[in-house]
Subunit: 169 residues, 2 copies
Amino acid sequence: MALKIKALYICKMENVLFVVGKTDDQQLISLIERYQQRIVRYGKFRIEIIPDLKNRKTQTVEQQKIQEGKRILNKVTSADYLVLMDEKGKQMDSPTFASWIAKKQHLGAKRCIFVIGGPYGFSDDLYQRADEKIALSKMTFSHQMVRLFFVEQLYRAYTILNNEPYHHQ
Amino acid sequence: MALKIKALYICKMENVLFVVGKTDDQQLISLIERYQQRIVRYGKFRIEIIPDLKNRKTQTVEQQKIQEGKRILNKVTSADYLVLMDEKGKQMDSPTFASWIAKKQHLGAKRCIFVIGGPYGFSDDLYQRADEKIALSKMTFSHQMVRLFFVEQLYRAYTILNNEPYHHQ
Protein backbone atom coordinates (compact mmCIF):
# COMPACT_ATOMS: atom_id res chain seq x y z
CA MET A 1 0.00 0.00 0.00
CA ALA A 2 1.37 3.37 -0.98
CA LEU A 3 1.95 5.71 1.90
CA LYS A 4 -0.08 8.85 1.47
CA ILE A 5 1.61 11.97 2.74
CA LYS A 6 -0.63 14.95 2.83
CA ALA A 7 1.23 18.12 2.03
CA LEU A 8 0.47 20.77 4.62
CA TYR A 9 0.91 24.38 3.66
CA ILE A 10 2.83 25.92 6.51
CA CYS A 11 3.03 29.68 6.71
CA LYS A 12 6.49 30.76 7.85
CA MET A 13 5.39 34.35 8.14
CA GLU A 14 3.99 35.15 11.57
CA ASN A 15 0.54 36.67 11.48
CA VAL A 16 -0.47 38.90 14.34
CA LEU A 17 -3.85 40.49 14.90
CA PHE A 18 -3.83 43.72 16.92
CA VAL A 19 -7.17 44.63 18.43
CA VAL A 20 -8.04 47.62 20.56
CA GLY A 21 -9.76 46.79 23.86
CA LYS A 22 -10.76 43.55 25.52
CA THR A 23 -13.82 41.55 24.59
CA ASP A 24 -15.94 40.73 27.62
CA ASP A 25 -18.26 38.61 25.58
CA GLN A 26 -17.65 34.99 26.55
CA GLN A 27 -19.43 33.57 23.50
CA LEU A 28 -17.35 35.65 21.12
CA ILE A 29 -14.14 34.83 22.99
CA SER A 30 -14.80 31.14 22.78
CA LEU A 31 -15.67 31.26 19.05
CA ILE A 32 -12.52 33.27 18.36
CA GLU A 33 -10.38 30.86 20.38
CA ARG A 34 -11.73 27.92 18.42
CA TYR A 35 -10.50 29.40 15.15
CA GLN A 36 -7.26 30.49 16.75
CA GLN A 37 -6.53 26.90 17.75
CA ARG A 38 -7.18 25.75 14.20
CA ILE A 39 -5.02 28.48 12.67
CA VAL A 40 -1.88 27.64 14.64
CA ARG A 41 -1.76 24.25 12.90
CA TYR A 42 -0.72 26.19 9.79
CA GLY A 43 1.60 28.82 11.14
CA LYS A 44 2.40 31.23 13.92
CA PHE A 45 -0.53 33.37 14.90
CA ARG A 46 -1.47 35.40 17.92
CA ILE A 47 -3.89 38.11 18.92
CA GLU A 48 -2.52 41.07 20.82
CA ILE A 49 -4.89 43.27 22.73
CA ILE A 50 -4.00 46.96 22.84
CA PRO A 51 -5.59 48.11 26.13
CA ASP A 52 -8.33 50.70 25.95
CA LEU A 53 -7.29 54.20 26.93
CA LYS A 54 -8.02 54.93 30.58
CA ASN A 55 -8.81 58.61 30.25
CA ARG A 56 -11.21 58.37 27.32
CA LYS A 57 -13.89 60.62 28.73
CA THR A 58 -11.62 63.62 29.05
CA GLN A 59 -10.34 63.34 25.48
CA THR A 60 -11.73 64.20 22.09
CA VAL A 61 -12.20 61.48 19.50
CA GLU A 62 -9.21 62.84 17.60
CA GLN A 63 -6.97 62.72 20.68
CA GLN A 64 -8.06 59.14 21.38
CA LYS A 65 -7.28 58.06 17.84
CA ILE A 66 -3.83 59.66 17.98
CA GLN A 67 -3.01 57.96 21.30
CA GLU A 68 -4.27 54.59 20.14
CA GLY A 69 -2.25 54.98 16.95
CA LYS A 70 0.92 55.71 18.95
CA ARG A 71 0.44 52.64 21.14
CA ILE A 72 0.02 50.49 18.06
CA LEU A 73 3.00 51.99 16.20
CA ASN A 74 5.20 51.40 19.27
CA LYS A 75 4.73 47.69 18.70
CA VAL A 76 5.46 47.75 14.98
CA THR A 77 8.99 47.44 13.62
CA SER A 78 10.08 48.79 10.25
CA ALA A 79 10.37 45.20 8.96
CA ASP A 80 6.71 44.40 9.71
CA TYR A 81 4.14 44.38 6.95
CA LEU A 82 1.31 46.46 8.40
CA VAL A 83 -2.27 45.97 7.25
CA LEU A 84 -5.21 48.01 8.47
CA MET A 85 -8.59 46.27 8.43
CA ASP A 86 -10.57 49.16 7.03
CA GLU A 87 -14.00 49.30 5.41
CA LYS A 88 -12.56 51.53 2.72
CA GLY A 89 -9.73 49.10 2.02
CA LYS A 90 -9.28 46.64 -0.79
CA GLN A 91 -11.95 43.98 -1.09
CA MET A 92 -10.99 40.44 -1.95
CA ASP A 93 -12.84 37.18 -2.15
CA SER A 94 -11.56 34.37 0.07
CA PRO A 95 -9.35 32.61 -2.51
CA THR A 96 -7.75 35.96 -3.38
CA PHE A 97 -7.08 36.64 0.29
CA ALA A 98 -5.48 33.18 0.55
CA SER A 99 -3.18 33.92 -2.43
CA TRP A 100 -2.43 37.31 -0.95
CA ILE A 101 -1.12 35.68 2.25
CA ALA A 102 0.95 33.15 0.30
CA LYS A 103 2.41 35.97 -1.80
CA LYS A 104 3.29 38.16 1.18
CA GLN A 105 5.20 35.26 2.70
CA HIS A 106 6.85 34.48 -0.60
CA LEU A 107 8.05 38.07 -0.89
CA GLY A 108 9.86 37.59 2.40
CA ALA A 109 7.72 39.30 5.03
CA LYS A 110 8.64 37.81 8.42
CA ARG A 111 5.69 39.22 10.26
CA CYS A 112 2.40 40.56 9.05
CA ILE A 113 0.40 42.66 11.48
CA PHE A 114 -3.31 43.14 10.88
CA VAL A 115 -4.97 45.89 12.90
CA ILE A 116 -8.63 46.14 13.85
CA GLY A 117 -9.07 49.67 15.14
CA GLY A 118 -11.26 51.04 17.87
CA PRO A 119 -14.75 52.43 17.21
CA TYR A 120 -13.42 55.68 15.76
CA GLY A 121 -11.06 54.21 13.21
CA PHE A 122 -7.37 54.89 12.65
CA SER A 123 -5.11 57.91 13.20
CA ASP A 124 -3.42 59.64 10.28
CA ASP A 125 -0.06 58.33 11.53
CA LEU A 126 -1.30 54.76 11.23
CA TYR A 127 -2.63 55.38 7.74
CA GLN A 128 0.74 56.78 6.75
CA ARG A 129 2.74 53.86 8.12
CA ALA A 130 0.36 51.18 6.80
CA ASP A 131 1.50 49.08 3.86
CA GLU A 132 -2.02 48.16 2.85
CA LYS A 133 -5.70 48.41 3.76
CA ILE A 134 -8.02 45.43 3.48
CA ALA A 135 -11.81 45.42 3.89
CA LEU A 136 -13.59 42.33 5.19
CA SER A 137 -16.82 43.99 4.08
CA LYS A 138 -18.10 47.35 2.94
CA MET A 139 -20.47 47.13 5.88
CA THR A 140 -19.56 48.18 9.38
CA PHE A 141 -19.64 45.45 12.00
CA SER A 142 -19.05 45.80 15.72
CA HIS A 143 -15.29 45.93 16.17
CA GLN A 144 -15.62 43.00 18.55
CA MET A 145 -17.33 40.91 15.93
CA VAL A 146 -14.82 41.83 13.25
CA ARG A 147 -12.28 39.82 15.27
CA LEU A 148 -14.34 36.70 14.74
CA PHE A 149 -14.72 37.43 11.02
CA PHE A 150 -11.00 37.90 10.68
CA VAL A 151 -9.97 34.63 12.35
CA GLU A 152 -12.54 32.67 10.37
CA GLN A 153 -11.18 34.20 7.18
CA LEU A 154 -7.55 33.51 8.07
CA TYR A 155 -8.41 29.90 8.90
CA ARG A 156 -10.32 29.64 5.62
CA ALA A 157 -7.30 31.03 3.74
CA TYR A 158 -5.08 28.25 5.08
CA THR A 159 -7.62 25.56 4.22
CA ILE A 160 -7.78 26.98 0.68
CA LEU A 161 -3.98 26.96 0.36
CA ASN A 162 -4.08 23.33 1.54
CA ASN A 163 -6.92 22.29 -0.74
CA GLU A 164 -8.93 21.24 2.27
CA PRO A 165 -12.70 20.91 1.94
CA TYR A 166 -13.69 23.54 4.57
CA HIS A 167 -14.12 26.32 1.99
CA HIS A 168 -16.85 24.35 0.19
CA GLN A 169 -18.56 22.79 3.16
CA MET B 1 -38.87 70.51 32.18
CA ALA B 2 -39.77 69.65 28.62
CA LEU B 3 -40.81 66.10 28.05
CA LYS B 4 -38.48 64.44 25.61
CA ILE B 5 -40.16 61.91 23.38
CA LYS B 6 -37.73 59.84 21.42
CA ALA B 7 -39.07 58.93 18.01
CA LEU B 8 -38.67 55.22 17.35
CA TYR B 9 -38.45 54.06 13.78
CA ILE B 10 -40.76 51.10 13.54
CA CYS B 11 -40.56 48.88 10.51
CA LYS B 12 -44.02 47.78 9.42
CA MET B 13 -42.59 45.40 6.88
CA GLU B 14 -41.94 41.95 8.33
CA ASN B 15 -38.40 40.76 7.83
CA VAL B 16 -37.80 37.03 7.72
CA LEU B 17 -34.47 35.28 7.48
CA PHE B 18 -34.55 31.84 5.85
CA VAL B 19 -31.57 29.67 6.66
CA VAL B 20 -30.85 26.14 5.51
CA GLY B 21 -30.05 23.69 8.30
CA LYS B 22 -29.86 24.01 12.06
CA THR B 23 -26.92 25.49 13.91
CA ASP B 24 -25.67 23.19 16.64
CA ASP B 25 -23.23 25.76 17.85
CA GLN B 26 -24.48 27.03 21.20
CA GLN B 27 -22.25 30.09 21.20
CA LEU B 28 -23.43 31.18 17.78
CA ILE B 29 -27.06 30.50 18.67
CA SER B 30 -26.83 32.63 21.75
CA LEU B 31 -25.12 35.52 19.92
CA ILE B 32 -27.76 35.37 17.17
CA GLU B 33 -30.60 35.32 19.73
CA ARG B 34 -29.20 38.37 21.44
CA TYR B 35 -29.47 40.41 18.21
CA GLN B 36 -32.84 38.87 17.42
CA GLN B 37 -34.20 40.14 20.73
CA ARG B 38 -32.90 43.61 19.97
CA ILE B 39 -34.30 43.62 16.44
CA VAL B 40 -37.90 42.87 17.44
CA ARG B 41 -38.02 46.19 19.30
CA TYR B 42 -38.08 47.81 15.85
CA GLY B 43 -40.30 45.53 13.85
CA LYS B 44 -41.43 42.00 13.12
CA PHE B 45 -38.56 39.64 12.56
CA ARG B 46 -38.09 35.91 12.69
CA ILE B 47 -35.64 33.30 11.54
CA GLU B 48 -37.04 30.26 9.78
CA ILE B 49 -34.92 27.16 9.50
CA ILE B 50 -35.36 25.14 6.32
CA PRO B 51 -34.43 21.60 7.46
CA ASP B 52 -31.43 19.96 5.84
CA LEU B 53 -32.25 17.33 3.22
CA LYS B 54 -32.29 13.83 4.68
CA ASN B 55 -31.04 11.96 1.64
CA ARG B 56 -28.07 14.20 0.87
CA LYS B 57 -25.52 11.46 0.34
CA THR B 58 -27.42 9.80 -2.49
CA GLN B 59 -27.84 13.06 -4.39
CA THR B 60 -25.62 15.20 -6.53
CA VAL B 61 -24.90 18.80 -5.51
CA GLU B 62 -27.17 20.00 -8.31
CA GLN B 63 -30.06 17.80 -7.11
CA GLN B 64 -29.61 19.05 -3.56
CA LYS B 65 -29.68 22.68 -4.68
CA ILE B 66 -32.86 22.09 -6.71
CA GLN B 67 -34.62 20.43 -3.77
CA GLU B 68 -33.53 23.07 -1.32
CA GLY B 69 -34.72 25.73 -3.77
CA LYS B 70 -38.15 24.10 -4.02
CA ARG B 71 -38.55 23.93 -0.26
CA ILE B 72 -37.71 27.60 0.00
CA LEU B 73 -39.96 28.68 -2.88
CA ASN B 74 -42.88 26.75 -1.30
CA LYS B 75 -42.75 29.21 1.57
CA VAL B 76 -42.58 32.34 -0.58
CA THR B 77 -45.71 34.08 -1.84
CA SER B 78 -45.83 36.23 -4.95
CA ALA B 79 -46.24 39.31 -2.75
CA ASP B 80 -43.00 38.69 -0.86
CA TYR B 81 -39.88 40.64 -1.69
CA LEU B 82 -37.22 37.93 -2.00
CA VAL B 83 -33.57 38.72 -1.37
CA LEU B 84 -30.75 36.21 -1.74
CA MET B 85 -27.70 36.79 0.41
CA ASP B 86 -25.10 36.09 -2.22
CA GLU B 87 -21.39 36.92 -2.40
CA LYS B 88 -21.88 38.08 -5.96
CA GLY B 89 -24.77 40.35 -4.99
CA LYS B 90 -24.87 44.09 -4.53
CA GLN B 91 -22.55 45.47 -1.90
CA MET B 92 -23.70 48.26 0.35
CA ASP B 93 -22.27 50.01 3.35
CA SER B 94 -24.36 49.91 6.52
CA PRO B 95 -26.12 53.29 6.13
CA THR B 96 -27.05 52.34 2.54
CA PHE B 97 -28.47 49.02 3.75
CA ALA B 98 -30.49 50.93 6.36
CA SER B 99 -31.93 53.26 3.68
CA TRP B 100 -32.60 50.24 1.49
CA ILE B 101 -34.79 48.69 4.21
CA ALA B 102 -36.64 51.96 4.79
CA LYS B 103 -37.23 52.30 1.05
CA LYS B 104 -38.51 48.75 0.61
CA GLN B 105 -41.05 49.33 3.35
CA HIS B 106 -41.99 52.70 1.90
CA LEU B 107 -42.64 51.09 -1.49
CA GLY B 108 -45.20 48.87 0.21
CA ALA B 109 -43.54 45.49 0.67
CA LYS B 110 -45.38 43.65 3.46
CA ARG B 111 -42.78 40.98 3.91
CA CYS B 112 -39.16 40.83 2.95
CA ILE B 113 -37.52 37.40 2.94
CA PHE B 114 -33.74 37.18 3.08
CA VAL B 115 -32.26 33.79 2.24
CA ILE B 116 -28.92 32.41 3.37
CA GLY B 117 -28.33 29.35 1.23
CA GLY B 118 -26.69 26.05 2.02
CA PRO B 119 -23.00 25.39 1.32
CA TYR B 120 -23.56 24.93 -2.42
CA GLY B 121 -25.43 28.14 -3.07
CA PHE B 122 -28.77 28.69 -4.75
CA SER B 123 -30.71 26.85 -7.46
CA ASP B 124 -31.47 28.51 -10.80
CA ASP B 125 -35.17 28.62 -9.83
CA LEU B 126 -34.32 30.68 -6.77
CA TYR B 127 -32.17 33.04 -8.78
CA GLN B 128 -35.03 33.52 -11.22
CA ARG B 129 -37.62 34.25 -8.55
CA ALA B 130 -35.35 36.52 -6.49
CA ASP B 131 -36.03 40.24 -6.56
CA GLU B 132 -32.52 41.13 -5.51
CA LYS B 133 -29.15 39.80 -4.41
CA ILE B 134 -27.20 41.41 -1.60
CA ALA B 135 -23.63 40.60 -0.50
CA LEU B 136 -22.60 41.04 3.13
CA SER B 137 -19.02 40.62 1.93
CA LYS B 138 -17.09 39.53 -1.12
CA MET B 139 -15.52 36.95 1.12
CA THR B 140 -17.08 33.59 1.87
CA PHE B 141 -17.94 32.95 5.49
CA SER B 142 -19.31 29.77 7.01
CA HIS B 143 -23.03 29.79 6.26
CA GLN B 144 -23.63 29.43 10.01
CA MET B 145 -21.63 32.54 10.72
CA VAL B 146 -23.33 34.54 8.00
CA ARG B 147 -26.49 34.32 10.13
CA LEU B 148 -24.75 36.22 12.88
CA PHE B 149 -23.46 38.83 10.40
CA PHE B 150 -26.92 39.30 9.02
CA VAL B 151 -28.69 39.87 12.34
CA GLU B 152 -25.99 42.27 13.51
CA GLN B 153 -26.39 44.21 10.28
CA LEU B 154 -30.18 44.32 10.49
CA TYR B 155 -29.97 45.53 14.08
CA ARG B 156 -27.41 48.13 13.03
CA ALA B 157 -29.73 49.28 10.22
CA TYR B 158 -32.53 50.00 12.69
CA THR B 159 -30.21 51.88 15.02
CA ILE B 160 -29.06 53.98 12.06
CA LEU B 161 -32.67 54.74 11.05
CA ASN B 162 -33.29 55.77 14.66
CA ASN B 163 -30.15 57.86 14.98
CA GLU B 164 -29.03 55.71 17.87
CA PRO B 165 -25.36 55.71 18.84
CA TYR B 166 -24.68 51.96 18.26
CA HIS B 167 -23.31 52.51 14.74
CA HIS B 168 -20.50 54.69 16.05
CA GLN B 169 -19.73 52.91 19.26
